[in-house]
């Protein structure tokens, strides 16, 4: 399922907004590698791990992998927006912990899930997001500082509310959100619908380009088609082969699609690119900078709170230490996905690929029995490599 979200994003009309365009007649293969470096790296890793360990390329493992990716992935979609406006949010990991604690406490207090979850999203996600956004947007304090402060505040709140210990959940409905599966049959139907929609959207894009007189880039079209076919084939294999689409994966896919659509096709998305590209010009062009920043910081906090709830649901309980260092994984996914920390350029599609890359690395290395200490070192090196590649590519 996660695979379609990235493939579809590649075919979105605005994909050229942040991505490097093709350079014409120069070496085709080289420019192809440049344009799709992260995707190729992901592909190579999957193949390498598949050969290295038989357990890797199985429906069961890949299904679990996709579920592991969702928690960071959902946050990373929000982080893409924050980084796009040249901001940062370091508090998301703590928000995950706090929202897990608050939601489980509300359930313990006897509230129904249908009340507890929205309430958590509102209080924890909305509250912290508005707080962060207000300081950043109103007083122009660097978001790094504000959200660094919130990182400790939210963690402190989580520890205080929980008394420092884990909170179990007894509600019977709650575990569904993070743990259940859409049955294989239904999953197959859902995927089928998506295949049809994707083909339709690619077809329509080509037609529109013709109509506007934009040359249709055949190479790009073929790449997209291949990725699309490969992605769906993989998704069919994984999700119909093992219990169906996991609920959190479905939620993540929805959020990723929404993120891609909003950035490419709405006023709000345009404003984010404008704000990140040139804040002064954005203000003088009549963009309400305050409101836009508030919205972005609130969105990411709500998404982080949602991640916390899904995590608590999967674990059937919360611990105040949930989500530690998640902010770094989310930022890494965004950066590996090609979004510039300087703001103004980036795509949610890239972020999804980045999140998958990190997920595959974690999963594959664990399967191979690589010691966690080494895993950290390797992950760090990959992040540095990805950014280095991005920088030298842009310098040209």
């Amino acid at each position: 399922m996660t695979d379609e979200s990235n493939s579809a994003s590649l075919t979105q009309p605005g994909a050229s907004l942040g991505g490097g365009g093709s350079t014409g007649k120069e070496n085709h293969i080289l420019s192809f590698i440049k344009d799709n470096a992260t995707l190729i790296a992901l592909f190579a890793l999957v193949i390498a791990f598949s050969f290295a360990d038989d357990a890797f390329f199985t429906a069961r493992n890949l299904s679990n992998l996709s579920r592991q990716v969702t928690i960071i992935g959902i946050i990373a979609v929000g982080m893409t927006m924050v980084i796009l406006i040249a901001g940062i949010d370091l508090s998301v990991g703590s928000v995950v912990g706090l929202s897990a604690v608050v939601c489980t406490l509300l359930l313990q207090a006897g509230l129904s899930v249908w009340v507890a979850i929205p309430l958590t999203l509102l209080i924890v996600g909305g509250g912290i997001g508005l707080w962060n956004g207000y300081w950043v947007a109103k007083f122009n304090i660097p978001p790094f500082i504000i959200t660094l402060g919130m990182l400790t505040i939210a963690r402190g709140l989580a520890l205080t509310l929980s008394g420092g210990s884990a909170i179990p959940v007894t509600d019977s409905v709650f575990p569904i959100f993070g743990g259940a599966y859409i049955p294989p049959m239904a999953s197959g139907v859902v995927l089928g619908v998506f295949v049809i929609l994707s083909v339709f959207s690619v077809f329509r894009q080509v037609q529109q380009n013709r109509q506007y007189g934009i040359a249709v880039n055949k190479r790009e079209l073929i790449t997209n088609a291949l990725v699309l076919i490969g992605g769906f084939a993989l998704a069919f294999y994984v999700f119909t082969g093992y219990r169906g689409i996991p609920m959190p994966v479905a939620i993540f896919a929805f959020i990723a699609f929404a993120g891609v659509y909003i950035l490419n096709n709405t006023r709000f998305g345009r404003r984010l690119y404008a704000l990140g590209g040139n804040e002064d010009a954005a203000r003088l062009s009549g963009i309400n900078v305050f409101k836009t920043k508030m919205t972005v910081y609130t969105t990411i906090s709500v998404l982080a709170a949602l991640s916390g709830i899904l995590l608590a649901s999967r674990l059937n309980g919360a611990s105040p230490n949930l989500g530690i260092m998640f902010e770094l994984d989310a930022i890494a996914a965004v950066v590996i996905g090609g979004t510039s920390l300087a703001g103004g350029s980036g795509r949610v599609g890239g972020t999804v690929i980045g999140a998958l890359l990190i997920g595959v690395l974690n999963n594959g290395m664990s399967l191979l029995g690589v010691v966690t200490f080494y895993q950290l070192i390797i992950k760090g090196l990959i992040i540095i490599l990805a950014v280095w590649f991005d920088v030298i590519q842009k310098r040209k």
């Binding site: 006023r267 404008a274 002064d280 003088l284 062009s285 009549g286």
Partner: protein
């Protein structure tokens, strides 16, 4: 006859798909000022980069001779060692260091333990300033505390400290006040006496007349005609060389009937946040009418930009006063409010405040009026409508571009400005304020912009134009306000305005408000 110190011979420089320089040939002599003229995009900057080693040999073809020796610089250091110093439009000084430290940056005098010899640094810097006859700042002054004009002197002193024999000045007066320009010219004359060879890049004809010895014109990467002594060529002939054709009517002014009062400004003040208690604009009151172009003149720093940005709501915390449109008082707290009320402002600093350089023409055109191309509530952008609208502006305004998806950063200044104009036209303004709309764009594009202003006035838009170029103000405006130190000191009708009188008011030597 003085010695030829610099000779550029058949210089060719290619970029992917473009030949930026195509057989450039000229020579410059010691003790002379050679004016290098050309429109934007003519290749002047590229030429300077070849000369200074930014583009090393063999990324270009042709030969550079310094005092008869062929030089092939591998980097900027080698060019510097050969005695070439370039003073770019954007100065390369470090604001948080002193004048002396900037002059000797990376070449400080140190004792044998590596400690900086401050005594010597300051006294050597003082010597250089004395040589240039500079008395109004000291080596110990912080660069951030002196004016741009003085900072330029620091750059010149720095160039002299490396014994530069060839000094290239790239549009040195673009940010200077009149007095600073005079000081600069005094120093240039002194350098001529000291046998320094200077290449002077500029658009400004009056300057060239004043200080150039010879002139060479660059167009489309080629030198047009020979290096010509300034006495042997008229300004019109220079323009013909630059543009490649005669500009018959530089200011195509159309006279129109003055209509009703449109924008009224009453007692607008903008305080100076850096110095509490002082004002950048003080009690400015004026009225702009339909059917006329209102010009705002004044020196750099007189508060022109602050006045219009104050009207536009750019400094809600710092400004007081009233703005009325068609007799109705407006409550403008942000540029968004101003735009919603029907006011548009084309900013002076196009790159920093007007453009999104990494985005397309299309993006830049619709960004301040996204409502016109998107659904009301959800804000979903209608791509085909957007393409149609943007395509229409690109066609109407004559933007030269392969497609509306082209990144705006790759266009020339004139074409960029046309896109910015399109962006504001799409917001359908009633009052269109243009702050230096023709700065840094070529003559052909200037005339097109003047024609557009005429058209807008004809359509009932109230046009207000700020300009530093008096010929432009006198040629195009019906009424002219003059600002001096944040105060509107006079208000001329077009037929009563003269260059000298405007200057007298702008410099503060004439007082009072003429009617």
């Amino acid at each position: 006859m003085s010695e030829v110190v610099l000779k550029m011979h058949n210089i060719i420089k290619d970029f992917p798909g473009v030949r930026a320089l195509n057989n450039v040939n000229f020579e410059a002599r010691s003790g002379e000022l050679l004016a290098l003229m050309g429109e934007n995009g003519a290749g002047k900057s590229t030429l300077m980069k070849v000369l200074s080693g930014v583009w090393p040999y063999p990324t270009y073809e042709g030969d550079i001779y310094i005092k008869g020796d062929r030089k092939r610089f591998a980097n900027t250091k080698e060019a510097e060692d050969a005695g070439i110093a370039i003073i770019y439009q954007e100065l390369n000084l470090i604001p948080g260091l002193t004048v002396a430290e900037n002059i000797f940056l990376d070449r400080q005098f140190v004792d044998r333990f590596g400690k900086i010899d401050w005594q010597r640094t300051y006294s050597e810097a003082q010597k250089l300033l004395d040589d240039l006859g500079i008395t109004d700042f000291k080596p110990t002054d912080m660069v951030q505390n002196i004016t741009v004009g003085k900072q330029q002197m620091v750059e010149i002193a720095k160039a002299l400290s490396i014994n530069a024999e060839i000094l290239v000045l790239d549009e040195p007066t673009s940010a200077l006040t009149d007095k600073e320009v005079k000081d600069l010219f005094r120093i240039i004359r002194k350098l001529k006496n000291d046998n320094v060879c200077m290449c002077y890049i500029s658009h400004k004809m009056e300057e060239i007349e004043q200080i150039a010895d010879r002139v060479v014109v660059l167009r489309d990467g080629q030198t047009i005609g020979d290096v010509t002594p300034i006495g042997d060529i008229t300004l019109d002939q220079i323009i013909v060389r630059m543009v490649g054709r005669d500009i018959k009517d530089m200011f195509p002014k159309k006279q129109m009937e003055r209509g009703a009062a449109s924008l009224e400004v009453k007692n607008l003040s903008v305080s100076n946040p850096d110095v509490p208690g002082t004002y950048k604009v003080k009690n400015a009151s004026f009225t702009a009418y339909k059917g006329e172009i209102l010009g705002i003149s004044g020196l750099m720093g007189a508060g022109r930009t602050e006045l219009v940005e104050g009207i536009f709501g750019a400094y809600p915390q710092q400004s007081t006063g009233e703005v009325l449109l068609n007799g109705v008082k407006l409550d403008i707290k942000s540029p968004k409010d101003a735009i919603d009320s029907g006011i548009a402002l084309l900013t002076e600093d196009r790159k920093a405040l007007g453009l999104f350089l990494n985005e397309s023409i299309s993006f830049n055109t619709t960004i301040s009026s996204l409502e016109t191309v998107s659904s009301k509530i959800l804000g979903i952008i209608n791509e085909s409508k957007e393409r149609q609208i943007v395509g229409e502006y690109v066609r109407q305004l004559g933007v030269k571009t392969p497609s509306i998806d082209t990144l705006i950063g790759t266009l020339s200044g004139g074409n960029q400005q046309k896109v910015v104009l399109g962006k504001w036209l799409n917001s359908k303004p009633e009052v269109f304020i243009l702050d230096e709309p023709t700065r840094g764009i070529d003559i052909g594009a200037k005339v097109e912009i003047y024609k557009l202003l005429n058209y807008l006035v004809d359509q009932g838009v109230t046009v207000i134009m700020i300009s530093s170029e008096l010929p432009e103000i006198l040629g195009m405006c019906d009424r002219i306000l003059v600002l001096c130190d944040g105060v509107i000191v006079s208000d001329f009708e077009r037929n009563k305005a003269k260059k000298e009188t405007i200057m007298a008011y702008a410099t503060g030597s004439a007082k009072g408000r003429a009617k």
